[in-house]
Amino acid sequence: MSNTTAVPTPGAFQFPEIYNFPPFFTRQPNESTWQEQRRQWCDLILAYYRHNRLYSLTLAEAITEPPFTNRQIHRSLRVDVLRELVDDLVKQGNASWTGAKNAKDSCLVLWRKPEVWASMIYQWANERGLFNTVLTVFELANGDDTAGQEFHNLDSVTLRRALDVLQSQGKAQLFVGTSDDDMGVKLFA
């Protein structure tokens, strides 16, 4: 079975037990307690974003919604704590800040690293014999040929990151079109 076949995500997201524990939403002063709390939050963020196929996060808006708000227990994560969590995700390569430099208001959540997306796209192109043909980025993301692939309907910023990785690996060449949708890419062996 090709490991790039999209796995359908079943139903509603299953929150971990810790999500209903009120202290989970308070930044713990005890350092080792915080390390564990931080780890659980990072796992939760990535799992939630993957399940719901979400790619970007604007901090001020996100804290009013799940997963950063749990309405059942009337608790919300504070925005400065979320900022600290995103900094951790950035350190482990699972997020990157977007928007104004040093503003830290919004970010990409890379629940799958661009390198992994890149190799999926490359493998698909190889299987379909599409090396040395120019494809538009649009058809790569949204075309019929990629239906059923994991990267089908991939968010454009994340897709662009993946293609940049391929370009830096010498496996692709990007061509700028008149707009983002017109951007082209040629993959080669």
């Binding site: 796995v7 524990f21 202290p23 308070t26 080792s32 390390q35 709390q37 990535l46 992994v116």
Partner: protein
């Protein structure tokens, strides 16, 4: 009141002076016997009110703080153990000074005397918490481990606690209850929940989860499997 206080201090000094004790000597003159009776009567009044022959700088001189330390321990030991082994220093100070009535002790002298407890191997200890709170503790029974296990047991029975909940359960000052909760938090036994309702402490579920995670082994990349699907 100043006049009365200074008069009383004067009398107390006189009572404890070498001249006063001479009145009791066997070869004292007869007229001195009346004086001796009056001195004894006055001493009795002091005894009824609180401290008998209180230690003052005049009576003890250079070893004032040592003597004061011994007197403090004598007076406060029972009170401290009745209060569960720990008492805020300010409470102990007020209690003691109230008993001394006229010959009050300066706060600095009080603290200096308390600092000598350990050196003099007396049964009480002065302890300073990280927040700056000073307490007197029963040297033998007030250990951190005891506090942690006690508070853990309360939470297991009554659920998550605020500082005022703990103060009510232990019948202690609010500041002391806070210190105990913070102590348990520093030790990793508790974690906190801050909300508009205040700060409430829970048993540390994160530590339990971390203990489970430790079974994964060090060096294992802690990435969920789904990332590689």
């Amino acid at each position: 009141a100043n006049e009365i206080v200074s008069m009383a201090e004067h009398i107390a000094t006189q009572l404890n002076s070498p001249a006063a004790s001479k009145l009791h000597r066997k070869d004292a003159a007869e007229s001195d016997e009346d004086n001796a009776e009056r001195v004894d009567a006055f001493r009795q009044y002091l005894l009824d009110l609180g401290i008998d022959s209180p230690v003052t700088r005049n009576t003890a001189g250079a070893v004032f703080h040592d003597e004061l330390a011994r007197e403090l321990c004598d007076y406060l030991e029972n009170y401290v153990s009745q209060c569960g082994g720990t008492v805020a220093l300010v409470d102990a100070y007020c209690l003691y000074n109230r008993a001394r009535e006229f010959s009050l002790v300066y706060p600095s002298d009080f603290v200096q005397a308390c600092e000598k407890f350990e050196a003099l191997q007396l049964p009480l200890r002065l302890r300073e918490y990280p927040s700056g709170l000073l307490v007197l503790e029963d040297a033998s029974s007030a250990s951190d481990a005891l506090i942690i296990s006690r508070v853990g047991a309360y939470i297991a029975s009554f659920g998550p606690l605020t500082a005022s909940d703990l103060a009510a359960i232990e019948d202690c000052a609010l500041t002391l209850a806070e210190e105990r909760l913070w102590l348990c938090e520093r030790a990793g036994a508790l974690c906190r929940d801050e909300s508009v309702e205040g700060v409430r402490f829970y048993a540390n579920a994160f530590a339990a989860a971390a203990a489970v995670g430790a079974g994964r082994g060090e060096g294992d990349v802690q990435e969920p499997l789904w990332q590689y699907i």
